[in-house]
Structure formats: structure tokens, C-alpha cells
């Protein structure tokens, strides 16, 4: 029976307050979306792809007959129990063991605890001994376990397609060492960035032994502010460490410090400390974000401004003028078209919290922006308070461009590529594949047989970090061990061992090498080393903060040559290359957990898309429309019953073209097009092949973060995307309930005053609820009128059939998620998948709404006002 309620008139808040929606189809009230809402299951939910149920029965008839009639399952197969030959210390069969290790990524590492079952790592957690992370880990760390077991990883060393055994590899490395003994002329290395002190020590030895060899490092994505900015500002080689917990007001200038910047986990935890509001009158930080893309950081902003990445310099200059009280940077701010009140109010708020505020700029922004930010932070007295600077070794490595020049000059005879994947992700203008092919001997060391291995004569198989001995430094410099949970699979080599062999070390064993490194840093005893391995970190090894002072004279040199302000339009679009949330720079492309995990912002799984703003979508003629009933209805929807049919667009930057699906992403700067990197891999396993398009194809070495001068042509074709954004849409429930801090302080129980719950009778009658401290007998007596055995309660107790249990047990579990600090990083989604062994289902099945994730993160958009045109169009 349906209960009927008299709904009161909507409150003023409901009428004037924010309106929440998940997709543009929902926002425009498209008839197609309404039809989708009214269906219980998406279209085709009950049929197999290409095969309906009848056909399935026909196809499977033989199997059914074999299983049922043949009595194949009558006798259980004989199974064995295989105990150890010799007992293994600490191992109890059936119980897990935990070891400290770390996942290295670029110039930092995540300290982890790995769970192993009889020598097989199955799951990782953050190492709680590392206080800044407090036992947390990231999406990539959670998913990285799957890579260890990837059947499509490289499964052996090869030379020209023939397998090499371990001895042959050692001979090969020794022969390279022999051949270049002396000065190393003709030898070149290309490595990815690393935070390993042992690798740094071995590289120093290599350079000593081969002084004329070239050591280059290349990372496709930049996640730390350019060190030139620090040199110009302070005259020292330092990097910033932000103290978000100490900052009451934070301004991010195109910095996605929850994801794309180094130390994102460190910063997310720190930020949450200033964000958490447990009770009335708790303070809360305020976050201003100016950005071109829509990022996790932007989604947490209290005040968000959409601005093209290439206009950030003008914005920062205008802000610097206001805060520093000068007109020096006015020429830089010329052309900036935006509400001056935003800058004025933001500057006022920052100045009002001098010493307790923080301005952060994105790593991809030009040096000038970082110098201006340093000047602002210095002026506001934030240096040493909300931002510390730590000394880092000056960059000794050459760049990829320098290596390319050397190769063109025929100066490289042997090229050793350590990790990375330049054939896939090098800037398009270098034409890396041709360069690599022109080198006589290329030794490729990598985990996958990928695009780069395809053009290398020798492929050496790397170990997974869970099968490696090594070390690394976290973002704050703490030295952490990388411990193997399992012997290297497929005779894999660690990078440390490979370098040690090339350097001609007597004992190239990676454990011994790490021991040597640590012996210099500790008292050298075995006990100290074992404590380091046990704790998973070396206490007190974090970089010490160094005092810095902003030097206006020196910093002027940074402004000798400034990028010009270019107004953007439909024919002059800006492209922004974004580190993908899941693929990172492409290295995780064959990880099914990550591929299937919906992107936290776009909610697309298994693909990337060219993200365009709603305004640009409208100008291109692909925005959802036709919601009004018309005589001849023309409807243009993004989604059809939960499946996204995206227009394919051709994007041209400097004459280079790529074709990809256009996804309209609310919250983007009007003329900024976002290209997530890491997809479109051509040589990888079957999980990663065919997922998305390769955005590196239009990336130049002089504009790695963003470029202007792009244009888009809509091809007229469409591509189906597995976008979960409209899945499980519901009608008429106020799921999103938010209030600002003032409203919360006025009414901490504001969430109950929304929607239906605010005026319907309670489901659990208050009479039926147990009162604090009430005993079983008293509760039952009150409930049943003094007769605990009575079948019918004598008291009508609300409308509840439910007797509230007595919550006084020894163990009681509950779980709550503080949505005020949840940044939506998706780590919990994959962690749950790893812990509970949930399968992936593939692109086609996700499109049908069959994704099997147990945790789902919805993304809701709000325009602020119920009747406002969205996005200031």
C-alpha cells in the first residue's frame, strides 16, 4: 500500500538553491533521459551481446549434456596438498604476512605494506609508520598489484627475437662495460626519473667511469615545479613542500595537487586536516581554484574560476599587482578578460590571512608564473609557514632533446633505455622512432614489450616493484625500502642490478647495493638496516627545510622573455595535456582494474575523450538540445539509455591531427580542450590495446603542458563510450545535500531538512528507539507495556516493527565517509576490487550497466542556482 503524503510547498531554499544534475541530458530535461529514468533496466540488459537467450541454450546444449548426462562431475578430481619441504619462518599457511615496501613513481614513492599469502603479494595498504600518509595509499598503488600477475608482461630477455638466459644477459652487460671502458664515448642512457638513492649513487659511479657517456632523463609528465623558478626566485636549487594543514586560505593556480602534482597523497591528507569539520564552530579552510580543466582539486573548490591555462600568467600577474601593490606586472596582465572583483576579493582574503594562506601553481605552468607565486607567498609571509623549501640535488641529467641532438649527430653507438616508453610518449616533433632506429645498438629495459621494445634489438625484462630490492624517497625526502615479496618472475632484472653490472660493480646484487647505500646513512650495522626494512622507512631522513628569501633583483631575469597573451576562440583553441587519473602517462594501460574504473571526472571507462566545454559544444553543434516538445522533434542527446554516443572530432594542432570522441565536460574553460594522456597504446596487451586515442601525437617538446592554435572539426561519425555517468539515475530523491559552513554552524543537522525526509513521518518511530542507557528489560517493558512476552505491543510505538538492538557489545562496527574531505580519487573503488577479487567485465558490458564495482562514486554538477544558465554562457 502506498502511503500518501501532503507535500508542503517547496522551501525558499529548494526554489532558489542549487540544482544538481549528473549529465547535460538530465540538465536539459531531454525526453530520452526521462525515458531512461522510467526504465528499471537499461536496454538490452537481458540479452547477451549478439546472442539472445535461446541461441545461448542452443550453443550450450552440448556442454549442458556433457555436464549433466555424462556424469562428468560424479567423482571429485583428485587434489593434492603440497606442504613446504622446509618450514619458512613466520609463515602460517592460511594467514597473511605483511611487509613494508614502497611503490616508486617518478621522483617520489608511496610507502606501502604488502599483504602476502605464502609468498604471493595480493594487496597493498599504505604503511602507517609513515605519518604524513597515515596508512593511506592511492588508486595507482591499489591497482599496481594486478600488474605483477599480468600474463601479457614481458616474459623473458630477448635479443633480435631470440631468448637470452640470465648468464647471457650478464655477459652482454659486461661486454658493454668492456666496450666503453675508458671514457664511454658513444654510450648513452635514457632513463625515467627516480627517487632511489642507490640509483643516484650508481649513476654517479657510471658517470665517473664513463665521463663522456650521456645520461638523459625523460618523463612525459612534469609533476614538480620547474627548478629554474626556484633558482630565479631564491638563487638555490630547492623545491617547495606545501603545508596545507596550516593554511586557512588556499589559492590554486591550475595546480591539481590532489592528483597531478608530486606528493598528491601527502597533500590530500594534509588538506583534509584543515578541511575536516567534526562539530559546530570547527574552523575550515577555504579553497580558491583557477583552472582550465575540471580536476579533483577544482571539484573541492569553494570558489572556482574557469580560465585557460595559457591565461594563468596574466591572472597571476594581475593578482601579484594587487597583493604586492605594484604596477610592475601590468603588461603581463594585459588582455585578461575577467571579473576584476574575483581577483580583488581573492586577494583581499589572502592578504587578510597573511602567513596562514598559500598560493600554489601547477607544475606545467611557465617559470614566470612560479616566480610570481613565490613573490606573492613571500610578500604574504607564507615562506617557512605554509610552504617550506627543501634542498634538492641540482639536475645533472641531460634532456631528451639533448639526447636527440646527439643521436642526430651520430654520436651515440649504444643506447640503453631504462624504463619509460619514448617511442610512445616522446614529443611528436622529435620523431623518436626514427631516431631510435638510427642507433646501431639499442638495449631496452622494460616491464612490458611495448612500442619502444618494438624498435630495440635487445629487450631486458624488468621486475615489478613487488619483486624488487631497492630504495626510494618519498616526496618529503624520507628514505623508504622497496622490498621483494616474491623472487623476480621470468628472471627479471632490477634497475639497480643492471646499473651495477654496467658500472662493473663487484657485487651487483640489488640487496647488497641497497645495503651499501644505507650503510653510509646509518651507523652501518646490520641491525640498523633490518630496522629500516622492518619499519619501511629511515627515520629522520626527510629533507630538512632550508631558509629562503625572495630575491626581486635576481627574479627579474625570469621575465626577460615572456609568452604573449593570445585571446582564444573557436578557431584558436587551447589544448591542455592532462595526466590521466588511471593510466597516468600510459604506463598502466594494460591494467584492467584501472581501465574499467570510471574516470573520477568524466565517468568514462575504457577510453579517453577530447573534453570540450559546453560552450564549445554548442558552437560545434554537438550540445544536447531539443528538449522542448515540437511538432517535428529534433533531439540531440549525448546518452541513449545510459550509453554515451559521442561525436568523433578531428583535432588539429600545428598540422598534426588526431581523431577522438568529443565529450562535453561541464566546468571547462570555454575554449580549452583537455586531452587525457596515456591512451591509444599500439603495442601492449589486449587490455590496453584499442583503448582511446594517443594524445602524445599532437604534443610538442616546447609545449608539454598546453598549447594554443588548435581547431576541431566534427566528423559526423559517432563512437559509443562506456560512460557510467547516467547509470542508476534516480528520480525525485535529494541525494546531494550540501550546506556551507555558516549554514552548518546554524544547523548541524541540516541534512535532515532536505527533500522528502524533511516532512514525511519517520519510518522508525521515535517510540521504538532505544533511549540512552536503557536496559533490555526497561526497553521491552516500555515497548510491550510491562509484559515482555506479550505478542502485541500495548503501546503504539511509532510505525516501527523493528526493535532496536542494544548496542553494548564488545565489538561494534560502523563506517562513515566524511564527504567534506572525500576528494573522489577512486582509490576505494579499486581497493575494494583488489580485496574482494571482483572481476572486470569489459567496455561492452560496462556500457550496458553491468559494471561490477561494489563502490560507485557519483559526480553531480550544480550551477549554484536553480534557474541560472549553466557555466555563465
Amino acid at each position: 500500500m502506498k502511503r500518501k503524503f501532503d507535500h508542503p510547498a517547496p522551501t525558499p531554499r529548494a526554489l532558489a538553491g542549487p540544482n544538481y544534475w549528473r549529465s547535460l541530458d538530465e540538465f536539459s530535461g531531454a525526453p530520452g533521459f526521462k525515458a531512461h529514468l522510467e526504465r528499471e533496466f537499461p536496454a538490452g540488459a537481458s540479452s547477451l551481446e549478439g546472442v539472445d537467450r535461446r541461441q545461448f541454450m542452443k550453443i550450450m546444449a552440448a556442454s549442458f549434456a556433457l555436464g549433466g548426462v555424462g556424469l562428468a562431475g560424479c567423482r571429485r578430481p583428485e587434489m593434492n596438498i603440497l606442504p613446504y619441504g622446509r618450514s619458512v619462518e613466520y609463515t602460517v599457511p592460511g594467514l597473511p604476512l605483511y611487509f613494508a615496501t614502497a611503490m616508486p613513481l617518478r621522483k617520489s614513492a608511496l610507502p606501502l605494506l604488502a599483504e602476502t599469502h605464502q609468498g604471493r603479494p595480493t594487496k597493498v595498504e599504505g604503511n602507517p609508520s609513515y605519518a604524513p600518509h597515515g596508512g593511506a595509499s592511492s588508486l595507482l598503488a591499489q591497482a599496481s598489484v594486478l600488474d605483477l600477475y599480468d600474463p601479457e608482461r614481458a616474459t623473458g630477455h630477448t635479443k633480435d627475437g631470440r631468448a637470452l638466459d640470465a648468464a647471457a644477459v650478464n655477459d652482454l652487460l659486461a661486454s658493454i662495460h668492456q666496450a666503453y671502458a675508458g671514457n664511454g664515448e658513444g654510450l648513452a642512457f635514457l632513463a625515467d626519473e627516480s627517487a632511489s638513492p642507490t640509483r643516484a649513487r650508481l649513476v654517479a659511479q657510471l658517470r665517473q667511469k664513463f665521463p663522456r657517456a650521456l645520461w638523459a632523463e625523460y618523463e612525459p609528465v612534469q609533476d614538480e615545479p620547474p627548478v629554474q623558478a626556484a633558482l630565479a626566485s631564491f638563487g638555490r636549487s630547492v623545491k617547495p613542500l606545501y603545508r596545507f594543514a596550516k593554511a586557512d586560505r588556499i589559492l590554486s593556480i591550475d595546480a591539481d595537487f590532489f592528483h597531478a602534482e608530486a606528493g598528491s597523497l601527502y597533500y590530500a591528507r594534509d588538506f583534509a586536516k584543515g578541511r575536516r569539520v567534526a562539530k559546530k564552530d570547527d574552523p575550515m579552510n577555504r579553497l580558491y581554484v583557477v583552472e582550465s580543466a575540471f580536476t579533483l582539486t577544482g571539484s573541492m573548490a569553494d570558489h572556482r574560476l574557469r580560465l585557460a591555462s595559457s591565461h594563468m600568467l596574466a591572472f597571476t600577474a594581475a593578482l601579484a599587482n594587487t597583493i604586492l601593490g605594484t604596477e610592475m606586472f601590468a603588461p603581463l596582465a594585459q588582455g585578461l578578460d575577467l571579473n576584476p572583483a574575483w581577483i580583488a576579493e581573492c586577494a583581499k582574503d589572502l592578504v587578510g590571512h597573511a602567513g596562514k594562506c598559500l598560493v600554489v601553481a601547477g607544475a606545467h605552468q611557465p617559470v614566470q608564473v612560479h616566480v610570481l607565486v613565490n613573490a606573492i607567498n613571500a610578500k604574504l609571509g607564507n615562506l617557512g609557514r605554509t610552504v617550506d623549501f627543501v634542498e634538492i640535488a641540482p639536475a645533472g641529467a641531460s634532456t631528451l632533446a639533448a639526447l636527440a641532438t646527439a643521436i642526430k649527430g651520430r654520436a651515440v653507438k649504444t643506447l640503453v633505455i631504462l624504463g619509460g616508453n619514448p617511442a610512445y610518449n616522446a614529443p611528436a616533433d622529435l620523431d623518436w622512432v626514427a631516431l631510435q632506429q638510427s642507433v646501431p645498438q639499442v638495449v631496452r629495459y622494460g616491464y612490458y614489450r611495448d612500442e619502444t621494445s618494438a624498435h630495440a634489438g635487445i629487450h631486458l625484462t624488468a621486475t615489478h616493484y613487488l619483486a624488487s630490492s631497492g630504495d626510494a624517497r618519498t616526496v618529503d625526502g624520507t628514505i623508504v625500502p622497496v622490498q621483494p615479496m616474491i623472487l623476480p618472475l621470468f628472471n627479471g632484472l632490477t634497475e639497480v642490478e643492471l646499473l651495477a653490472r654496467l658500472a662493473g660493480e663487484e657485487n651487483p646484487d640489488p640487496y647488497a647495493q641497497v645495503y651499501t647505500t644505507l650503510a653510509h646513512l646509518t651507523d652501518g650495522s646490520k641491525k640498523a638496516f633490518e630496522k629500516f626494512l622492518h619499519d619501511g622507512l629511515l627515520e629522520g631522513s626527510a629533507y630538512p627545510p632550508v631558509p629562503v628569501a625572495f630575491d626581486p633583483q635576481r627574479s627579474a631575469s625570469a621575465f626577460a622573455k615572456n609568452p604573449a597573451f593570445v585571446p582564444l576562440s573557436l578557431s584558436n583553441l587551447e589544448v591542455r595535456f592532462a595526466t590521466d587519473h588511471k593510466m597516468d602517462d600510459g604506463r598502466f594501460a594494460n591494467n584492467g582494474w584501472l581501465q574499467e574504473c570510471p574516470d573520477p571526472i568524466t565517468k568514462i571507462s575504457w577510453d579517453n575523450a577530447i573534453l570540450v566545454s559546453p560552450r564549445l559544444g554548442k558552437l560545434l553543434g554537438i550540445a544536447p538540445r531539443g528538449s522542448q516538445p515540437q511538432v517535428a522533434r529534433v533531439e540531440e542527446n549525448e546518452f541513449d539509455t545510459g550509453k554515451e554516443y559521442a561525436h568523433l572530432g578531428e583535432l588539429t594542432v600545428d598540422g598534426r591531427k588526431i581523431v577522438g570522441p568529443l565529450h562535453i565536460q561541464p566546468g571547462l574553460s570555454n575554449f580549452t580542450v583537455v586531452l587525457p594522456l596515456g591512451y591509444g597504446r599500439s603495442v601492449t596487451g589486449h587490455v590496453g590495446t584499442g583503448a582511446g586515442f594517443n594524445a602524445y601525437a599532437v604534443r610538442r617538446s616546447d609545449a608539454p603542458g598546453f598549447a594554443t592554435g588548435a581547431s576541431i572539426r566534427v566528423t559526423g561519425r559517432r563512437q559509443k563510450l562506456a560512460n557510467v555517468q547516467e547509470h542508476w539515475s534516480m528520480e525525485g530523491r535529494d541525494i546531494v545535500r550540501e550546506a556551507n559552513l555558516t549554514e552548518f554552524d546554524a544547523n548541524p543537522h541540516f541534512a535532515a531538512s532536505f527533500g522528502m525526509e524533511s516532512h514525511t513521518p519517520p519510518n522508525l518511530g521515535t517510540e521504538g528507539e532505544r533511549r540512552p542507557g536503557e536496559t533490555d528489560a526497561a526497553y521491552l517493558a516500555r515497548l510491550h507495556g510491562g509484559n515482555p512476552t506479550a505478542e502485541q505491543p500495548s503501546l503504539p510505538r511509532g510505525n516501527s516493527l523493528y526493535e532496536t538492538p542494544n548496542f553494548d557489545g564488545l565489538h561494534q562496527w560502523g563506517m562513515s565517509i566524511d564527504l567534506n574531505t572525500c576528494i573522489g580519487c577512486n582509490a576505494c573503488v579499486v581497493a575494494c576490487q583488489a580485496e574482494n577479487n571482483i572481476p572486470i567485465v569489459g567496455r561492452e558490458q560496462v556500457a550496458r550497466g553491468r559494471e561490477m564495482h561494489w563502490i560507485r562514486l557519483d559526480r553531480y554538477y550544480s550551477d549554484g542556482k536553480a534557474d541560472a544558465a549553466p557555466f555563465g554562457a
Binding site: R76, G85, R86, S87, P93, G94
Partner: protein, 217 residues
Amino acid sequence: MSKIFPKSANALPLQIVLFIVVLAGVATAAVTYYATPKYLRIGYEPVQPVPFDHSLHAGQLGLDCRYCHASVEKSATSSLPAAQTCMNCHSVIKPASPLLAPVRHSYETGEPVPWVKVHVAPDYVYFNHSVHVTRGVSCVECHGKVNEMTTVYHAKPHSMGFCLDCHRQPEKFLRAPRDVYNLDSPTLAAQGKMDEALAQIHQWKVKPPQSCSGCHR
């Protein structure tokens, strides 16, 4: 017009019904007897790579179960001993016995002795040894008198009903903690100490699950 059916055909419907009833009865009885774990599992006695004699080790010599099945109190699985455990004694006793060759080989090379599984819990059942033995459920309740077996065989049906018998009335099957590994001891109930069994249940909060998800999880 001649008759199509003879008169005797009048009884045919009844005969058919009777025949079907009898056939169904026989089929039900046959399935109940032959196709349940009681018939299919009990008595399963595979040949082991080493003819280990429980009646000698656990019976005559009186070795505690936990000397070999060391993780039974800590883990979900009771675990089979590493060859090293066997060699603790057999490096001295019968060190050259040809029957022990697989154990010596395993100890030297690390290759496991391929013991054949006798008791198999299906993948859809969760079973934890430690929670049972530490609450007073003796080995003998599920595995029979292993201390009298020359070769281990499947002694109890391990059907769902078998599990539920005990889960419904744990007090009838519990032993005092000191008797858990004494396979010849009687249950507390058999000793007439029902009150002790009930006290044990209360004290240790023995609440065996009877819901589906208790084991099928």
C-alpha cells in the same frame, strides 16, 4: 463398430499411476541413498605417496595432532607438516627407509610431497579450523577416529546437514578444551556434564551461524 480398447484397458490408467508412484519412490530412495555425501564420501581412502600411519603416530606413540598440523589453532587451514617436521625424528629413526624416500627428497630439494586430499570443502563453503578447535569442537567430530586409522579415510559425510546438526545444538558436541585433541575422550554431554557445556557456550560466546551467509560467503 468394433471396440478399439479391450476391457482390460480400463485398469490401465490406475496401473500407470501406480507404476509412476512406485518408480518415483524407488528413484527418490536411490538418490537419497546413493547420491548423498553419506554414500559418496564416506570411505574415500586414496593411496598416499608415503604410507603414513596415523594409528602408529597419533595412536600408539601419542603424538599430539598439533605437532604436525601446527596451524590448526591459528589459521583457517590445519596445514600439513613440512618435510622438515618429519625429519625431526626420521633423521634418526628409520633414516634409510625406502618408504620415506619422498620425504627425504622433499627435505633436500624443497619439492613438496604430493599428499592426496581426503577432505575437501568446496569453494562455496567457508570453513575455519581455528574457530572450531579453540571453542571445544574436537577433531574427531568431523574427521573420525584418525588415531585408529592406518590410512586416513573419509569417516563423516561432511554434508550441510552434518554441519547443521552441530550448529543447531553445539552443547551436545563440545568437549572441554583439554580434550579437544584427545580423540578417545567423550563429549561433555556424554559425560553428563551438560551444565559445563552450556557454561562453556555462554562464556566463550559460542554462536554458530545458521544463516546461509555464515558459511556460504
